[in-house]
């Protein structure tokens, strides 16, 4: 367990220290959300209707942006090979990294989402539902992101490929994420979507460390 916490602490330390991109990802999230009114016009009724979608797309894009720093720096400086020789199984290392990625990429977004909700004329109740759906959905994005990063760590220019690889896999997360917020299908549909979202996140978190660890092992082999 101590090894697991050590990886978690190290990842958080690296992300929060100077060069870490927690702030840049946060800024990217707010900017993507804020530029939409410039594109679709400041009509509040329209903005309020599409606000949940915008918040989710912004969260989705900024988590994809932060993917490259998950395994690539370790791959480049040789740490990844040493992880394969460590006492701590590679699956635990990957799990710790995925959780750290969620803490440094998703949590700040959720904390900043009220600000974006203000910009997009989202009412209080929807904001609450958005925060809950983000909390339930972003772990799945982090897990699939882990697989995308692990699969492309052994490639030269993998950085660009990971997002397009996992975007199709994240379509259900987006669908249920936004479905859980907007009352389009009525309250029972929204709660059904919330449950699907939670199930998806649990499944993704449970499976992705194994797939990612295998991909790293055989990518480096």
């Amino acid at each position: 367990m101590s090894g697991f916490l050590a990886v978690l602490r190290r990842e958080l330390r690296l992300a929060l220290r100077g060069g870490g991109e927690v702030l840049t990802l946060l800024l990217f999230f707010v900017i993507v959300g804020a530029i939409v009114p410039f594109a679709v016009g400041p009509d509040k009724a329209l903005l309020a209707r599409i606000a949940p979608g915008i918040v989710w797309i912004a969260a989705f894009l900024s988590m994809l942006l932060g993917l490259d720093r998950l395994f690539r720096p370790d791959g480049e400086d040789g740490t990844l090979s040493l992880y394969r020789l460590a006492d701590l199984p590679l699956v635990a290392v990957v799990a710790a990294k995925v959780i750290a990625h969620w803490l440094t990429a998703a949590l700040p977004l959720i904390v900043a989402s009220p600000f974006l909700a203000l910009l997009l004329a989202m009412d209080g109740e929807t904001l609450l539902r958005t925060i809950v759906s983000l909390l339930l959905g972003t772990p799945a994005l982090a897990a699939f992101g882990g697989i995308g990063a692990a699969v492309t760590v052994a490639t030269r220019r993998g950085g660009l490929i990971a997002p397009i690889l996992i975007a199709p896999l994240c379509v259900p997360v987006l669908i249920f994420g936004v479905g859980a917020i907007s009352p389009l299908g009525g309250p029972d549909q929204a709660s059904a979507a919330m449950l699907f979202l939670a199930a998806l996140s649990l499944m993704a978190l449970a499976l992705s460390p194994f797939a990612a660890a295998l991909a790293i092992d055989w990518g480096e082999d």
Partner: protein
């Protein structure tokens, strides 16, 4: 790679050796190609000249004769890739890598055709070329997965190492495809309660089924032929890469 001439090479591992695979399967290509051509010609003739217009869809049912086979192939090719991925991961079967790599672009092409024909079928039926209907949308997502896999293959320099990593992603994709289909269907019923006219219901009269079956087998055999050809090319391409790398290192082959 010298062959170990073990006395009894079982059918399975004789096929495993790339060189052997090429020799064993080459005689199949020509007959398969001829069979495909015949079936295609027959299918088209049936589609246009020997089948009535559908009582509901009118003549546009003829587009179905190409749309259904390509849509079926977009699923079937992914299934072959997933089985090959298992072959790569579980049995380390060298030909599994080759078949997985050969199938990806074919799958992408057939899925694109399915979308193209679906759009053309949709124009007279729904009035627009693109309708966010459940099946069409999941076919679109399938196309993105195929293109992602093709891009992943090309991102690796060493194709042997790439095979197992792509196999893992293919299996992850395979696990997620049913989930994507389910979520897209749920999403499409949420936004457009009107259920779309289900064309390929079992209630199709015999006269429409015959061209459909002929085209179905024609396209499936076409995929088999192209897959075999592409696998042979892939085996030769790996041979070329080895020879080039060996020549670059200034060694006798």
């Amino acid at each position: 790679m010298s062959i170990e001439t073990s006395p009894k090479q079982s059918w399975w591992n004789r096929l495993a050796h790339p060189g052997q695979f090429v020799i064993w399967t080459r005689p199949f290509i020509l007959p398969l190609a001829i069979l495909t051509a015949v079936l295609l010609a027959l299918g088209v003739w049936f589609a246009f000249f020997n089948s009535p217009a559908d009582y509901q869809m009118g003549d546009t049912v003829r587009i179905m004769y190409v749309h259904v086979p390509t849509a079926w192939l977009s699923q079937f090719v992914y299934a072959t890739m997933a089985v090959s991925a298992l072959g790569t991961l579980v049995w380390r079967h060298p030909m599994a890598d080759v078949s997985m790599k050969a199938a990806a672009p074919l799958g992408a092409a057939f899925t694109a055709m399915a979308l193209f024909t679906g759009a053309l079928w949709g124009r007279p039926t729904w009035g627009t070329f693109w309708e966010w209907d459940g099946r069409m949308t999941s076919t679109l997502v399938m196309l993105f997965i195929y293109l992602g896999i093709v891009a992943l293959w090309r991102a690796f320099d060493d194709q042997l190492r790439a095979a197992r990593v792509v196999a893992i992603f293919t299996l992850v994709g395979a696990v997620n495809i049913p989930i994507i289909k389910f979520s897209v269907d749920w999403w499409s019923t949420l936004h457009q309660p009107s259920s779309v006219f289900r064309a390929d219901g079992p209630t199709m009269p015999g006269s429409i089924l015959t061209p459909l079956f002929i085209m179905f087998f024609a396209f499936t055999f076409l995929f088999a032929t192209l897959q075999l050809l592409a696998m042979h090319t892939e085996v030769k391409r790996r041979r070329v890469m080895t020879l080039e790398r060996r020549a670059a290192r200034g060694e006798a082959a």
